[in-house]
Symmetry: C2
Subunit: 333 residues, 2 copies
């Protein structure tokens, strides 16, 4: 039986057209069964553009969409049949093995938390991954969904990062660092000092504190931080990347023909962000949910579906549950 | 009477030679009187290399140096005559108007805190300034000396940033932003939510929360954060800058002759950090202390002395005291 992926057909800046296109590509190339959730009429209309392959996809009707920026919990109450809610139900009732959405991250989090529940030790879903093109194997989390974290939450992030590193990056014994302001034990704020002790007893391959530059030094495969810090870092990188792209292109065009300058500038900047990795799982919910970037085109939609498929194949969810429970048991002594 | 600057002749990677050279340049070009503090023999030996101008500088003997990485408070107890301690005493006793050191920031902080005391509302000296070459007029502080800040400490940073913006960057009515994870009021962690309310009552030109990308968007002239976040950001930028420099240079050398590629890569990277601005005042101590980068050469030593001179000329210290007291009064009122 093929793996069944519920795809939120209405989420994202380019929905439904690019979502439908990407879902079809995935259905054709990845041997997955797609349950495309959304307004039936507009999805049918899109699908009819691809008549030969349209039967690869099953449409599940929903009513309404939750937009980026809407308060998620309230929006879910007002639109209980919204695409993200219906897609989450498919996972909840075992009709789909995973969910992919390019829509509002907040709505996906709220819907998954309410519909599927959270794993032990987590108050909210966590997000993270290798977000830097220059450090494509360094995992940072949480990237913004959890603020004022307790040390035990941060320990859950560490376990999540390790499972991700093993299953998706092929790192067999991932090392874990705690993001702080000095390498020595005892450096840090109250939160990281407390987390340090807990990490030390966790049985994880904990290498101690790491600093801001260590995102680039391979000191740790998994770097854990409060979502407040993680969010500021990804947004800072985003801003820096934009500002730097202009500067690189301006500088090069002083010395090179504009076409060549543009091409080289693009090549240089391609390593700043890690756009593939803005696709990532919502960690810590009791189900496989992949959230892709709102601006995704068909190819990225298809990549997000591939990631969902792989998460199901490697049984990511069971591994997360088992590992989190085991580590929590150990620190409880 | 010329402005008198105590210079720590023993601090920094290139002490005493580059410090002596830079101090002499400053004495010659800036009409300041230099009190060079350090081991008399080695300072005399250096000064004798420049016989025509050596009389521009007065040597004040000290004994011992506190190295980067030594625990500052303990080192100061063990070496009470260390160059930084003697230089601080010159300021304390009114024999110098300001102090410049390229040595350990921690030692300068401890020495200034013990010897000169702190302004109202501060637990430790603060450091900050425009640290990004791509945003040369955006001031960020604290950059690492204050962790787990109370909202009132963060408000002091805001006032400091405004005084700096007015006196050194010529911004007449600086706007202040609070670094957080969303622009709306109510977004943030516990600390920033509390600080938000205080900032709102401060009478400062407070524009609300800003996000990581806003270091580059001119939304605020002064951006305030806990030193934990600030430290991670500057070290992250440092690491990114190094990693990126390699990448830029590798990419360019695929298309250009290596000499040209190297020169353009250097030009591109020159805008990443803001090396001039790693020289900065220790804010919040009751005296003018400028800490320069440990790797400073003569020209940077001379720039640090120029900054000290300007801080004395504009009466930075009185302005800081007055403005901090006024704002604190207002939020208490």
């Amino acid at each position: 039986m093929p793996i069944r992926i519920a795809v939120d057909g209405m989420g994202g800046d380019n929905a439904p057209s690019e979502v439908v296109k990407g879902a079809l590509e995935a259905a054709r190339d990845q041997e997955v069964q797609i349950l495309l959730v959304g307004e039936a009429d507009s999805l049918h209309k899109e699908l009819n553009k691809y008549s030969p392959s349209k039967n690869l996809i099953q449409i599940v009707a929903s009513n309404g969409v939750i937009a980026e920026g809407e308060p998620p919990a309230m929006a879910l109450r007002q639109k209980p049949k919204a695409s993200i809610a219906i897609a989450t139900e498919l996972v909840k009732h075992g009709k789909a093995d995973a969910l992919v959405t390019l829509g509002s991250t907040g709505a996906a989090m709220a819907s998954a938390t309410i519909g599927l529940g959270l794993l032990e030790g987590l108050d909210r879903p966590a997000i993270g991954g290798p977000f830097l093109g220059l450090a494509p194997k360094t995992i940072l989390l949480d990237l913004g969904s959890n603020l004022d974290c307790r040390p035990s939450q941060m320990l859950s992030f560490a376990v999540i990062g390790c499972v991700f590193a093993r299953q998706f990056l092929g790192i067999s014994d991932p090392s874990v660092g705690l993001l702080s302001v000095g390498a020595e034990e005892g450096k840090g704020n109250k939160q990281t000092k407390e987390a340090y002790e807990l990490f030390n007893e966790s049985g994880l391959n904990f290498v101690g504190n790491v600093e801001g530059m260590d995102l680039f030094t391979n000191k740790a495969d998994v770097i854990v931080c409060d979502g407040f810090v993680g969010n500021i870092m990804i947004k800072f990188t985003e801003g820096l990347s934009k500002a730097f792209a202009h500067h690189v292109s301006d500088t090069l065009s002083k010395y090179l023909a504009s076409e060549k300058a543009g091409a080289i500038a693009l090549e240089i900047m391609s390593r700043m962000n890690n756009p593939e990795q803005t696709i990532g799982p919502l960690f810590g919910v009791n189900g496989v949910i992949i959230v892709g970037h709102g601006s995704s085109k068909a190819a990225s939609v298809s990549s997000a579906i591939a990631l969902a498929k792989r998460a199901v194949q490697v049984d990511l969810l069971t591994k997360l549950k088992t590992d989190i429970a085991e580590v929590m048991q150990r620190v409880r002594g």
